[in-house]
């Protein structure tokens, strides 16, 4: 096993969605920079969109929506706890991103006049732009990486950031998951684009990697940012999504809704007005699932044959193409019956909710020289286009920052400590297999952290996660692949502890199901209309604190404020007026 010492101006960790965009934009900004894109898998097929994506869920297109309208809608969908400046930066720049993707060859649906064919899925505005041929997305990104001469390193898993004496980022460390070679990469600036913490909870199926998220996205970026001293925002606003039961892929309302499909209860009745993923919608979904009207289904069996064929073509060839195979195996056919749905395991993901490493409107984290973008960065409800747009901001701003800084040195003590930590499972004989420890850890996340959240249960969870810290020291890895899994168990444990502490700190309920606390059931704006941040304090302990919500750029009127609290369909008119 060798140690490789490298240096780059800009290092981007994660080659899925935001990462390639950040690397390309850093190079475009300053072609003289040495830019490295590093991935634990292979950038050709890595990240949440490894097979493609079937549409943009948040396209703010002139003539169909305005940046102001979108910013307000997400403010409401996220119960007011947003930095409108970061939302506005996204909403006003993302159309330029769409036009650039269009020039790069991404095929968006257009009408007969050549205008983008935007659809309405959100509660208030119209922002969904289908990409029926979105399976080409990764190839298109790869072409841009080649064009701009970004250097790529695959199969290296990054485990810790290097910092200098002032706490600025100084590079990244990791190892090759096939050879176990150790990497020390000095860098003037690092951009983290590591995706969601998708292996926090255990899927209801019990299959360890049957997660909603691509399981490579284990939460690496959250843990690396935490250990480097960065602040993480609103982690208690968990990601929980409505999915096809067992298959655990999206149903997916953004595709089926505009074509006439909807979420129904066991009686085949609609119970929510809007299928857009929000905590409030998940709360109604959860209540229906638990009620006598449960479970919940995707209803398409009332649609015309040609519509169903269109839906099948989109859903079975883009984001999760094995879905057709799943339905065939279950003998379920959209034409004949409703498809049973369930809720996902819990995770962190700003791309769908609002739990992320804190960033401002320039994609800067609270650690100097460290940027973040995509599912792991705190701009709420970002989805794929948010990842691209903030990847662009991160790349351009990091390029500027790199030009003004000398190459930092690597702290020898940090390198020695990390090398010892990483290699420990290879040197340990007869210990616990990583998969067993991961299974138990994630099963306990389900037992103690899954909403409805209960204070005493979360406290027990913390005790268990602390015990698992000792188990992790007993893990042995028989080869570099198992070593990767062993290191992932450790970062998943860090995320589990963050999830518990962040959830315990906010003593109210907010964001519907995402942070429903049974023993603090009401929303309490007087005490908790604020962000909550979590960081590693001077003593190395996890500490939570309040941060005021940044002044709004756009005021909400009273009716808008409560729009997402009125998602349930009330059939009885009298009940509605009571």
């Amino acid at each position: 096993m060798q140690t490789h010492e490298l240096e780059y101006d800009v290092v981007v960790v994660g080659g899925g969605t935001a990462g390639p965009m950040a690397a390309v934009k850093a190079k475009e900004k300053n072609p003289a920079l040495r830019v490295l894109l590093i991935d634990k898998a292979n950038v050709k097929r890595s990240g949440a969109i490894s097979m493609g994506m079937d549409g943009l869920n948040n396209a703010v297109i002139p003539g169909h929506a305005t940046p102001e309208q979108y910013t307000k809608e997400i403010t409401v969908a996220n119960d007011g706890i947003v930095n409108q400046k970061t939302l506005m930066a996204y909403a006003s720049n993302s159309f330029a991103m769409i036009e650039e993707l269009d020039r790069w060859g991404v095929k968006f649906e257009k009408d007969e006049t050549g205008d983008y064919a935007v659809r309405k899925v959100h509660h208030l505005g119209t922002y969904v732009l289908p990409m029926p041929e979105g399976h080409h997305m990764k190839k298109i990104l790869y072409r841009q990486l080649k064009r701009t001469r970004v250097e790529v390193t695959n199969r290296v898993i990054c485990t810790r950031l290097l910092t200098d004496a002032q706490g600025k980022v100084a590079g990244v460390m990791g190892f090759d998951c096939r050879t176990a070679d150790f990497y020390v990469i000095r860098a003037k600036t690092v951009i983290l684009c590591c995706g969601a913490a998708g292996r926090l909870g255990l899927p209801a199926s019990g299959y360890l990697m049957g997660t909603y998220e691509n399981p490579t996205n284990a939460g690496d970026g959250y843990a690396m940012a935490y250990h480097a001293g960065a602040e993480l925002a609103n982690l208690e606003c968990f990601q929980i999504n409505p999915l096809i039961k067992d298959y655990n892929g999206p149903a997916c309302a953004y595709v089926t809704g505009p074509l006439g499909g909807y979420t129904a209860n066991g009686k085949g009745d609609r119970f929510i007005e809007c299928d857009y993923w929000s905590g409030q919608m998940m709360w109604e979904f959860y209540k229906e699932l638990q009620s006598g009207n449960g479970p919940v289904f995707l209803k398409l069996d009332h649609l015309a044959e040609e519509t169903i064929q269109t839906i099948e073509t989109i859903l079975h060839t883009n984001e999760r193409p094995s879905r057709g195979r799943f339905h065939a195996g279950r003998n379920t056919n959209y034409r004949e019956q409703m498809i049973e749905m369930h809720i996902s395991e819990v995770g962190f993901c700003s791309g769908h909710s609002a739990s992320g490493v804190y960033i401002n409107e320039r994609a800067e984290t609270s650690v100097q020289g460290l940027y973040a973008a995509g599912d792991m960065a705190s701009m709420p409800h970002g989805y794929m286009l948010g990842a691209f747009t903030y990847g662009w901001f991160a790349g351009a701003n990091a390029a500027e920052y790199a030009a003004s800084r000398a190459m930092p040195a690597a702290d020898a003590a940090q390198v020695a400590a990390e090398k010892a930590r990483v290699y420990a499972p290879l040197n340990y004989q007869g210990g616990l297999p990583p998969a067993q420890v991961e299974y138990k850890l994630r099963r306990m996340v389900n037992d103690y952290l899954q909403p409805p959240k209960v204070t005493r249960k979360m406290e027990i969870g913390l005790t268990r996660f602390d015990e698992i810290r000792a188990d992790i020291e007993q893990i042995s890895a028989q080869n570099p692949h198992e070593l990767m899994r062993a290191m992932e168990v450790s970062l998943i444990r860090d995320c589990a502890e963050m999830a518990a502490r962040a959830s315990l700190f906010r003593t109210e309920s907010r964001w519907g199901l995402y942070h429903y606390r049974v023993d603090h059931p009401e929303r309490n704006d007087a005490d908790w209309f604020c962000h909550t941040h979590l960081k590693k304090d001077e003593n190395g302990a996890m500490s939570s604190f309040k941060k005021p919500v940044e002044p709004y750029l756009l005021a909400l009127d009273e009716d808008e404020k409560t729009a997402y609290q009125r998602l349930r369909i009330v059939k009885d008119k009298e009940l509605a007026s009571a």
Binding site: N42, R45, S46, M51, R178, Y207, G430, M484
Partner: protein, 81 residues
């Protein structure tokens, strides 16, 4: 006297299988191994054929889609099927 730790096996049926007649790994092809996000596939050097080494599958399908000879098949893992 001390107890010797041992590992007991638990068999699982691999969701990814390879048609060895079609697989051209013996000619140097490693496409399926390269594209698996979870790094689960490997080449059996003795046979010169690809196979699934670890059952940690996300049933995402790049291995099947990108195989130049159509030799790889992804099934839904049994627990989810």
């Amino acid at each position: 006297m001390s107890y010797t730790p041992i590992y007991a096996l638990q068999r699982t049926s691999a969701p990814v299988t390879v048609d060895e007649e079609k697989c051209i790994a013996h000619k140097g092809c490693t496409v399926c191994v390269d594209v698996c996000p979870m790094d689960l596939l490997a080449i059996d050097m003795a046979k010169g054929k690809a196979y699934m080494q670890y059952d940690e599958c996300w049933y995402c399908m790049p291995c099947e889609q990108d195989c130049p000879t159509g030799a790889v098949k992804v099934e839904i893992p049994y627990l989810l099927r």
